[in-house]
Amino acid sequence: MDTLHWLDVTGDRAAPLTEEATLVQELQAGSEQAFAYLLGVYQNPVFNLLCHMVENSADAADVLQEVFLKICRGIRHFHGESSLKTWIYKIALHEASNHRRGWLRRLRREPFSLDDGQGEPVMHSAQSAEETPYEALEQAERRELVSRALASLAPSYRAALILREMEEMSYEEIARVLDIPEGTVKSRLMRGREMLRSKLTGLLSEK
């Protein structure tokens, strides 16, 4: 670990390529410190992705642990064909998909409460000195609507949109994560945005 100059672990950015190669070597050697670093860098962005991808966001923490366990088990088979970041996101989406399937199976069997899915109460407060409480409330409501519209999209479109808009990945990176051609990424993004727009229009008209 002496040769590796670790980056800021609180940041959400991935390590540059040369450092990534060293990090992968350390991970493959079974270094706990390297895994701690990996957790520090990726746990928040992956958790955010999982919160949007699993139906019940309370399960995102459990899925996140599964993801890092899979990374730990599978790092020896990582040969650097893609970047570490895209490999991790690929595992995360795969785990989210597995969890969703299990969740749907359980949902069919178990009774549900009418209180479920009501969401947590949102506290509205002005973000900046210039923003009035009314504007803050309006913004929060808009974000809530966007979030609901996004959650109602099919997982394939949702994943493409989150990777592009929230994780700011390029088309090529999204194609690697989703294991689809770049053309399909473009069409999914376009179709996803169209669906999101129409859902948002519907939600706004309901208000």
């Binding site: 966007v146 945005r193 727009r197």
Partner: protein, 221 residues
């Protein structure tokens, strides 16, 4: 340009709005879109709507993993990394020893220091070395002993002498020997003219006691 041609052109251009907003359109396409936007207010408004939705998506709050997740994940990963028996034993040993290491080291160091102090306190310093003795306590010592005449018939005389912090004799007591007035007189004179080095405690002079033994030695010849 008639109306149908204009709408068709808008429809064609709008297909490229996503690439344009994502910064993924080619230079020619970028120029075409910009040219069209310069002449079509409706497409400009549509682009603004799409841009707003994009910024809405980007401004969605990023969820942070709860602090306990990181700890639990580290524990799980650590268990996974040390799945074999030897690795598990080593980790258990390390986890068991680490919390005890600091108190144990402190105990060993304290014991060594105490032992050192105890050992040095028993050593009587050599008188002809001018160093100040650093041991905890030192007994009083004789510097100059005045001569005393003992009669041939006298037994060995043993005296306990109390010496003050200035090295002067405070009192003395005869332990062994005949306490005749003549002997006591000679002992008084001897004590008066003798010089003593006082006892010390932590390097400071203090009162002390010493035992003096006198015996007459006769040399024939």
């Amino acid at each position: 340009m008639d109306m149908d041609a204009l709408f068709e052109t808008c429809g064609e251009i709008r297909k490229h709005f996503d690439d344009y907003l994502d910064g993924e359109s080619s230079r020619e396409r970028f120029r075409d879109v910009q040219y069209h936007l310069g002449h079509c207010a409706a497409c400009g408004a549509e682009l603004d709507r799409r841009g707003m939705m994009k910024s809405d998506l980007r401004s969605l709050p990023r969820r942070q993993a709860p602090p306990w997740v990181a700890l639990r994940s580290r524990v799980l990963v650590s268990q996974e990394l040390h799945r074999n028996l030897l690795g598990r034993l080593l980790v258990r040993l390390q986890n068991g020893l680490k919390p005890r290491l600091l108190p144990a080291m402190a105990g060993v160091c304290s014991a060594i220091i105490c032992l050192g102090l105890f050992m040095t306190s028993g050593v009587v310093p050599i008188t002809n070395i001018p160093d100040v003795p650093v041991s905890l306590t030192t007994p009083p010592r004789v510097r100059v002993l005045a001569p005393i005449d003992l009669n041939a018939g006298d037994q060995a005389v043993v005296v306990v002498t109390r010496i003050d912090a200035d090295g002067r004799v405070i009192s003395y007591q005869l332990l062994s020997g005949q306490p005749s007035p003549e002997l006591m007189h000679r002992l008084d004179r001897m004590m008066y003219f003798s010089l003593f080095q006082p006892a010390t405690l932590f390097g400071r002079p203090t009162n002390g006691q010493m035992v003096l033994s006198f015996r007459q030695i006769t040399v024939r010849g």
